[in-house]
């Protein structure tokens, strides 16, 4: 298992698609900061303002979530579907014939990359967001005191979003289909379903992937740029369990269906 993990780490590191996805965290975190200051400005009647409410401060610290919510699933999808796209699955399974170990290694490696992605966003927030906030007149210490409230949720949500992508990637094997399902499904289909559920059935559809992840990272997404203003989110721990299910169920189904099939 350790050998498989070490190999998967090198495999991920040597894929340009992984680095592009990872690197997009930086500009999207800056965009998240821009939206955080714009949101604060809107409340204050200006274009931009320093963050001053508790929710705004947490939104600013979790600005990276704007990109993470779709970059982390893409990371998971690429991790598994590139094996089928480039037929490297043959070599992978030959080297690690006990296939559950391959998936186990991929889960650990995706978790690590997700943590790094969340950490990168926090670095950008600290390096760009805090001076920017100070420049707008904010007090830095009032924002940094909220790190402890934001980091656990951000890390957990990022890891589980990565697992979500890995799960659906394992199930469908096709890279384009995997990305369409995880991203298109959560950002288009989920929003439509949420709206329909609310309008027609007056039902609070808050257990689909995007809303579940948002509730786990609650301090972040309640700020409003995730399209969940109309949904009463689950508690953070409920969101965590639901999100874990959105990762593990397709992963388990994928393992027992596509992943154990003949490699021809």
């Amino acid at each position: 298992m350790i050998n498989a993990v070490r190999s998967e780490l090198l495999k991920m590191r040597s894929m340009p698609g992984i680095w592009v996805t990872f690197g997009l965290t930086i500009p999207l975190t800056v965009l998240g900061l821009l939206l955080a200051f714009a949101t604060a400005g809107g409340f204050a009647g200006h274009t931009f303002s320093f963050v001053y409410t508790l929710a705004q401060k947490r939104q600013m610290l979790g600005a990276g979530y704007l990109g993470i919510q779709f970059l982390a699933p893409i990371l998971g999808v690429i991790c598994i579907t590139s094996e089928y796209r480039h037929k490297t699955i043959t070599t992978t399974v030959l080297l690690t014939p006990r296939r559950h170990q391959v998936l186990g290694a991929k889960i650990l490696v995706i978790a690590l990359w997700a943590v790094l992605m969340a950490a990168l966003s926090l670095v950008v927030v600290t390096a760009v967001g805090l001076p920017w906030n100070a420049g707008l007149g904010g007090v830095t210490s009032q924002v940094t005191s909220q790190y402890g409230a934001v980091i656990p949720g951000l890390l957990a949500a990022t890891v589980l979003l990565g697992l979500f992508g890995l799960g659906f990637g394992t199930l469908v094997k096709n890279q384009v289909a995997g990305i369409l399902i995880t991203i298109g499904g959560t950002f288009i289909l989920e929003q439509i379903l949420v709206a329909l559920a609310k309008q027609i059935f007056h039902y609070n559809l808050n257990w689909l992937p995007s809303a579940a992840a948002a509730s786990l990272a609650g301090a972040i997404s309640r700020g409003g740029f995730n399209g969940h203003e109309g949904v009463s989110l689950l508690n953070w721990w409920q969101g965590g369990i639901v999100m874990l299910g959105w990762g593990l169920v397709p992963l388990t189904l994928g393992y027992f269906t596509t992943f154990r099939r003949d490699v021809t």
Binding site: N3, L10, S14, M15, T92, L94, T96, P97
Partner: protein, 307 residues
């Protein structure tokens, strides 16, 4: 001896309604190069993939040293496999690919440079695989199989894409590895090069075993020559041969191969029938004629059982 025997017992595989491998059984001995021959679509690749745990058999079993591949304690240290020259991430560098293989198998990453040198790719170690020719990919695939310094080497059509120099190199390399006592099983449909390489032969057709044994014993088991006759009267010759109950194959509009005859028998027959000849050659019992006889069902439909 450091090799392990490969045993295939009653192996079958259905893909839907298609029977790709039909109750196949043979043994591969260590210390020899065994050719696994058959026409395209005869079930060679499926058999090798079942042996390597990539494809689940419908029935029967395939073991290496008495164990299933998935149960080997050190799979890549026991078996090296070359299956297809396309299973690389195009953006990955050759050396990185081999380091990845070494890591997965728990081998020293320094083996990457050693095997790159073995297959003659040291100068290309830092190049991305996307820029590799088919021949270079075959060499890299072979390097990957050798990272674990395995006791058994399984190669599926390894000479595809190799130039004549590469094929000659591969031939010598396989014989060198077999000389160290390793088990070498190599599939191919290219017979001329295999005839110069292999010690043992397993011939399959339509998923079934047609012949098995040492090359000499299989050739001896057939013990028949093939004559090639080039004539402008090929149609008339075929009619005469058919009437005489001879086994023959039409190779071209003016070329007929007659199996199981000697020049002393065929020559007088042609003279008696006043057949105009441009050329009459004794092809002997070469691997190709045996293969064609065995796989076409024109004479050797049954398994040849050599001594």
């Amino acid at each position: 001896m450091r090799g392990l025997p490969i045993e295939i017992k009653g192996l079958s595989k259905h893909f839907g309604s298609v029977l790709a491998v039909d109750n196949l059984a043979f043994t591969v001995e260590p210390g020899r190069v065994t050719g696994f021959l058959g026409p395209n679509g005869s079930g060679k690749t499926t058999t090798l993939r079942m042996l390597l745990g990539l494809v689940n058999p419908s029935s029967g079993e395939a073991t290496i040293g008495g164990k299933f591949y998935r149960d080997l304690q050190h799979p890549s240290g026991t078996v090296g496999a070359v299956l297809e020259a396309t299973s690389f991430h195009p953006a990955r560098r050759a050396r990185t690919h081999l380091r990845m293989v070494a890591r997965a198998g728990g081998h020293d990453e320094a083996r990457a440079d050693i095997v790159l040198d073995l297959v003659g790719l040291t100068a290309d170690a830092k190049r991305k695989v996307s820029g590799f020719s088919m021949g270079m990919r075959q060499r890299l695939e072979l390097a990957g199989a050798l990272v674990g310094d395995p006791d058994v080497l399984i190669l599926d059509e390894p000479s595809n894409g190799l130039d004549p120099q590469g094929i000659a190199w591969l031939r010598e390399f396989m014989q060198y590895l077999a000389g160290e006592g390793r088990t070498i099983l190599v599939s191919s449909h290219l017979l001329a090069e295999m005839a110069q390489t292999i010690d043992n032969v397993v011939i399959v057709s339509k998923g079934q075993l047609k012949a098995e044994g040492t090359l000499e014993s299989v050739m001896g088991g057939v013990s028949e020559a093939t004559m090639h006759a080039r004539t402008p009267e090929a149609d008339r010759l075929c009619t005469i041969l058919s009437g005489a109950g001879s086994r023959f194959r039409r190779l071209a509009h003016d070329m007929v191969a007659v199996d199981g005859v000697t020049p002393e028998v065929l020559g007088p027959m042609l003279a008696a029938n006043q057949i105009v000849l441009y050329e009459l050659t004794n092809e002997g019992a070469d691997l190709e004629s045996i293969f064609l006889s065995v796989t076409s069902g024109l004479g050797f439909g049954d398994t040849v059982t050599p001594t």
